[in-house]
Assembly symmetry: C2
Homo-oligomer: 301 residues x 2
Amino acid sequence: MAIALPDTQLDFEQTVSTLRAQVDERLDQWLPLAPVQDAIASAMREGTLAHGKRIRPLLLLLTLKDLQRDTMVPRAGLDLACALEMVHAASLILDDMPCMDNAELRRGRPTIHRQFGEDVAVLGSVALLSQAFSIAASTAGTDASTGNQLVRLLSQATGAQGLVRGQFHDLREGQRARPLEAIAHTNRLKTCPLFTCAVEFAALLADTDASRMRHLKGFATELGLAFQLLDDLSDGLSTQQIGKDSGKDVGKSTVVALLGPDAARQHVEEHLARAEQHLIDAGIGDGHLAQLLEYFCARPY
Amino acid sequence: MAIALPDTQLDFEQTVSTLRAQVDERLDQWLPLAPVQDAIASAMREGTLAHGKRIRPLLLLLTLKDLQRDTMVPRAGLDLACALEMVHAASLILDDMPCMDNAELRRGRPTIHRQFGEDVAVLGSVALLSQAFSIAASTAGTDASTGNQLVRLLSQATGAQGLVRGQFHDLREGQRARPLEAIAHTNRLKTCPLFTCAVEFAALLADTDASRMRHLKGFATELGLAFQLLDDLSDGLSTQQIGKDSGKDVGKSTVVALLGPDAARQHVEEHLARAEQHLIDAGIGDGHLAQLLEYFCARPY
């Protein structure tokens, strides 16, 4: 039996599923179906288009809706959303490899190196990263200097100070017992770079002022931390429920392992509350991003 | 005893070693010495700054000298030369990994995954690629739309139609017996993308016309094919002489294996002759690139 939702929440869920469909359609154009012998193109497509929450693209597109108060999603926003999802997919492909997390399942399917071999997994990731940078440099309807800024932001989010650093911290520090702050630091490094990049992309497209940009980044950071905690909490659920290897975090020093699930849930609430305050301070406390927070709060965990 | 060289060749060798020193100095600034616990930064530095021929940076900088008839190397050229060398270094780090060529030595030292672990090798490569794209988007003294074009060219050279495709071909096709054209095709895919990108970068900085650009790309392709053949010929030399694993190509279908070294040398000569013709057609048959060809011809192989 379908649960009756309040109208606004129903509207929001429809908005979200429309946006997801638009992102998937555009990704399908960027990464067209390839002949089976083109393993690189197939791996790029499979790693990116497999069923996912598309949270980073959504974050970008919902931010853009709130800033522009516009119902239409501009092509530039959609392309940048695809670039973010490609970088995210590349990072997942690499994180799953035997020399990293050695995962067997992702999004309900065998991981890319298990489907295509480790060599193709590495090369496909490099190709996805390259394509994402090219998309950022070619964003329709933005001036050239914005294009250069988009590339630099994407580089920052991806490179030695971004995702790379987060994954390295997680690999090297995750097995040791650590104080709460150290765990929160690793979580921040792992999840926040692309969350922050998503709102920065939207803010650049909408030509937002510095103060609003600061609050949007604060929002993205808090949301990222909440998201990472929810991910850790979901590690206790079965593989079937979450579609990827579960129990991978056993023995890993996560907030959940350190404080227990109840305190972790409390932390999630605190991050979401701080995220909401940033939206209010940015003058968009009543928009789509606020609804995204409600949606997170309502999530079972 | 030093061998007496003709004046022009001596001048050229001095130019080359000055440029190499400038590239290395600038790379040292982009990739500063990191504390030992920062394995990512250390791997990025070690993978890029280890002794190398710097052929791609030289190609860019010598092309720029020929096009601009200028003795000064502009900062933009030097930065782009560094970006090319970073992408090249990232590709070598990945190619050497156990899931690819499984090499133990590179540039006279243990390969990056042997020094730092496979996880750091992968992450360091991603960070180098990201930094290279950021440099291309930030090139001093170029207008913003040139920056966008530089990023797109670098993406083309690196991604699914560039280095990635070349390495994939080499891995999957290299073990089979192939006709000469198929081998030449793989060689073209492996070596030419960054050679072509180097001359395209220089041509963009110098605002070169389309006809000259076409000949420069023809030149880069012929030089790349000659270079790959020379590399295959050197595989017969000892590890000590070439500083990387030798004999890796045993059983691999190279031009050398197919036709023997004498015919391979003949092919080198033919590629270099065609490269020279492209320089003449581009109106720079008497410049630094022509001297680079002479230098290649004089190389012992």
